[in-house]
Amino acid sequence: MSEFFTLSVLIATFASAVRLAVPYLLAALGETIGQRSGVLNLGVDGVMLLSAFGAYYTVIETGSHLLGVGVGLLIGLFMGVVYAVVTVHLHAKQGISGIGIFLFGLGFSDLLSQELVGAIQPIKKLPSLAKLPFVGGIFEPLEDIKYIGELLFSHNLMTYVAFALVPIVTWMMNRTTFGLNIKAVGENPQAADSLGVSVERTRFFAILIGNTLAGLAGATLSLQLGVFQQNLTNGLGFIAVALVYFGAWRAKWVMAGAMLYGLVTATRLQWQARDIIPNSASDLAAMTPALITILALVLLAKRVRGPAALTKPFTRH
């Protein structure tokens, strides 16, 4: 056990937690924006899968991670348009529509993978800051700093983008007209409408942003792992939805939830590798992150209140 509490192992564990947390964080931030506008999207996982494959395949064809991320974003945006039309304009039930998007993403990404790629082939992973073209030299000395380098400067660009989005989303939601409109239509769409806020347009754009971030999460996942395979997300999108509840619809707490999830997972893997957790308890250990999330949700459920109009379609009377 004492072996675990050495600085190098703790830093490696934290770095692992950050890598695990990034896709959750991106997807959950997007879902937070959508839910604050009153729209629940259970299709996050499907959008992530489609974007993950799109990004992966783009890198296979072009060798460019930048293009891969771009394609992932565009797929997210496109799926956002689809979901927004279905739920906002056609007033379809959000839960069922989301599940439909998920199942479509699950099946179609697998079909494309089998038809276009065939046997799984690894690709180059997203490079760390120090290995970026043109600007990598600036970060190289920083990555070499003992302990600090691995902790703060060894990650890929998407990691910094994800964490930078936390204050940006917070600022957008609390300090911009668009953000305040999102919250208004999520709480009381009739009141917002009476004040001249276009509920449909606000929800439409909130969904677009949310799905684009889900697309970014999927692209980050496949490019960070350097591979795509059937159901790569493994339910990650659904955990991201749970993290929104965990984080009480606030970006910083969503980040805390994603980091907690990553940290618990990374710690149990480190403990298993060091035989601190016996293999006989591995199944129990595997459940720990989910158990902690459920426990936190139970404890938080009575203390925080979600957007009042969440899942409720808006019709002008």
Binding site: S8, V9, A12, T13, S16, R19, L20, P23, D110, S113, Q114, G118, A119, I120, Q121, P122, K125, L221, L225, G226, V227, Q229, Q230, N231, L232, N234, L236, T265, A266, L269, Q270, Q272, A273, R274, D275, N279, S280, S282, D283, A285, A286, M287
Partner: protein, 343 residues
């Protein structure tokens, strides 16, 4: 007379030559039983064999049919038998698999290969409803007492032991890491065998991590990263999620040992050897029995001895010839029963 004598001499010489070639061939295959070395730079694609049966065949499997792991091992084996089965893959959800199994049976498919231990419960309900259909189920050691079920399983610990022994030779006693999925089925047999093979050759630290998932690549990746921080000098793993761990091995220049399918394509530099399941060895027998009217009732296994398990060494890795011949000795001892790897 002279002509007759020389003709007789030539005939004898030819016979002797043929006999010596036959003996050499037998000797060669015996010494190479259980191993094969690929030629570096060549395509390892499975070649379709001559069709062995006219029975219609369907496969229901949990992961992708091109996963370079469990499911692909079955598809590749059928290809070697010249069979193009109908395939329903990606059925990690047992209910979905159950629907597919029943659907194929209702469609009148002769043989349904139910490729996943977890489908056993559903199969026990479905198989009795279709007594004319043969179900081939694995990995499982029992037919559940149902007449139209064949069971199959690999003695994965055997190839695991060989891989573990080779790994220990490469690390010289240094730590070795294992990325396991769920502590069940052939995964646990392979890992136990691998551990025993490494420990028998002087490795005291074989660190084993079970991620709790057959398919979570991110977890397998981070499990391998965690093992790298422990200081492992070789890695192995099983299940379709292992591709993530192979990437970590590749990045860190750590030798990798695969199982189920040949995993050279994932890293031509770092994959040392893969234990490959050649299900065709037992499927061929099963198809023959089905054609003769026996639709089940027997469990068959893949072993190094029957050729169902083959340790395929990556020609690009340039494994030391002494280690390779040492591995062949280990295989001979396993076949002879002198070594019994734990499952």
């Amino acid at each position: 007379m002279k002509t007759n004598r020389s003709r007789r001499f030539l005939t004898l010489l030819t016979a002797l030559l043929a006999l010596s070639m036959f003996a050499a061939a037998c000797g060669g295959s015996e010494s190479a039983t259980g191993t094969a070395t690929s030629e570096c730079g060549t395509d390892n694609a499975v070649v379709k064999g001559d069709k062995v049966t006219d029975l219609s065949v369907a496969v229901v499997a949990p992961s992708d049919s091109q996963d370079l792991a469990f499911t692909q091992s079955m598809i590749d084996s059928l290809t070697r038998l010249g069979i193009e089965p109908q395939v329903t893959d990606g059925t990690f959800q047992v209910e979905v698999a159950a629907d597919a199994i029943r659907g194929y049976a209702e469609d009148g498919i002769n043989v349904i290969i139910v490729h996943g231990t977890q489908y056993g419960g559903s199969l026990a309900e479905i198989a009795p409803d279709f007594p004319e259909t043969s179900f081939i189920w694995g990995t499982a050691t029992s037919t559940q007492g149902i007449a139209n079920i064949f069971a199959y399983y690999p003695e994965a610990q055997q190839g695991g032991y060989v891989n573990g022994w080779i790994a220990s030779e490469l690390t010289g006693g240094g730590a070795i890491g294992v990325v396991g999925p769920v502590e069940a089925g052939d995964a646990v047999a392979y890992i136990n065998g691998f551990k025993a093979g490494a420990e028998a050759n002087g490795v005291s630290n074989v660190a084993v991590t079970y991620t709790g998932s057959f398919s979570d690549v991110a977890l397998a990746t981070e499990a391998a990263e965690a093992l790298v921080t422990v200081g492992v000098e070789a890695l192995t793993g099983t299940s379709q999620s292992a591709v993530g761990a192979v990437n970590v091995a590749d990045e860190n220049g750590i030798p990798w040992f695969g199982t189920q399918s040949n995993q050279e394509a994932w890293s031509t530099d770092q994959v040392v050897a893969s234990q490959v399941y050649h299900w065709e060895v037992i499927l061929d027998d099963m198809f023959e029995m089905i054609e003769e009217g026996t639709l089940g009732g027997e469990a068959m296994s893949l072993t190094l001895e029957n050729g169902g398990l083959l340790v395929e060494i990556n020609g690009c890795f340039n494994l030391d010839s002494d280690i390779e011949s040492g591995a062949q000795d280990i295989i001979k001892k396993i076949i002879a029963g002198d070594i019994n790897p734990p499952a």
